[in-house]
């Protein structure tokens, strides 16, 4: 196999591809860097689309199907764009026995979205997390990156309403 000397051309002239390139270079432009690179893409663009996956596959000389297999194996990765606001409901054991299901039902009732879904107006994405490690505050929810604990369904719905305006 002849060594790759020239970097593949980025899918667009979006400057952000430089961040992705830097991640791949730091990890030796090797297929081992796949997960680190996908993290970088998701952090930069918010989700993983086919264009990005193809580019990463080509750059890391990794088969397309393997890239897709990895992107769909790990639940941290999303192939769909996310809403403006995110609400992560923890469903870890402590949260579960303290009423995480009631929180999810309240969200579903008020906003019509279940975990993994985004509202039609693209305002809110609801995600269920395995355990965010805030068991001492169960049940806990992360809204736009801020952890909130000891929530009742009513306070959660009120809080989400306030966030999405």
């Amino acid at each position: 196999m002849c060594p790759q000397t020239v970097r593949n051309e980025a899918p667009s002239d979006d400057k952000r591809w430089k961040i992705i390139n830097a991640t791949m270079r730091r990890n030796g432009d090797d297929s081992h860097a796949l997960i680190e690179t996908l993290h970088s893409v998701q952090e930069t663009f918010g989700y993983l689309d086919d264009v990005a996956l193809s580019y990463v596959a080509k750059s890391l000389r990794t088969p397309l199907s393997r890239v897709y297999g990895v992107a769909t194996f790990y639940h941290f990765f999303t192939l769909k764009p996310q809403g403006e606001h995110s609400c992560v409901v923890c469903t870890g054991t402590a949260c579960h026995i303290k009423g995480a299901q009631a929180l999810l039902s309240a969200i579903k009732g008020s906003f019509g979205v279940a975990p993994g879904e985004t509202t039609a107006d693209n305002k809110l994405s609801v995600i269920s997390a395995r355990c965010i490690g805030s068991c001492g505050l169960a049940p806990a929810v992360v809204i736009d990156g801020n952890v909130m604990g000891n929530l009742s369904p009513q306070t959660l719905v009120a809080r989400v309403e306030r966030e999405i305006g």
């Binding site: 086919d50 199907s65 890239v67 297999g69």
Partner: protein
Amino acid sequence: MTSPTRVVTLRIDDREVSAREDETILQVARDNEIFIPTLCCLEGLSTWGACRLCLVEVSGSNKLLAACATRVAQDLEVKTNTPRILAYRRTILELLFSERNHVCSVCVANGECELQNLAQRCGVDHIRVSYRYPELSLDLSNDLFRLDPNRCILCTRCVRVCDEIEGAHTWDVMGRGIDCQVITDLKAPWGESKSCTSCGKCVHVCPTGALSQRGTAIAEVHHHRDFLPYLTQMRGERD
């Protein structure tokens, strides 16, 4: 590398057999015509160890071991047909039947299906768990072959033959757990795959009717697998 391979003796089902020490229990059992069922294992491909049908009892281990992935050793005592093992084999086959839509009577592979054959051989005449009835659509985009995920048992033979023998790595598995599926490229329709060479190796190694040639009707599948050990040998000599 030059040290000669030693020969060991062991017992399989109270039969004394001898083997090279680098052989697996499965290889030795097959050489001696002792039946151990397998689905994911195929000679010429790497070991996957996932169907769990080849589990055997081995002296010195309280866990059941996969015969395809366990090397023989001097004085090993192997049991392949205890009541416990026979029961688990049946349960695993039942689980496989419940997972997708395996309707033998209308399957292209009827009569030449490894899953069907094993079910008959292991006495699976009904299944005790509920069927999942997943809704999976056929991929008919390829001019030569078709993929019917309803018959797929996720043995990954297609993935391995495509990667290890053909070198294209068109196939892989997406998702995880019960949602796993075999895919080509970025889940593109098979006919649009840029990496597929249409060599057909995947079709010939498929144990069921999941991958077949277009135009095959019910019970018309016939697998040609002689190419596999031949190719493996030829490529091995080149390395």
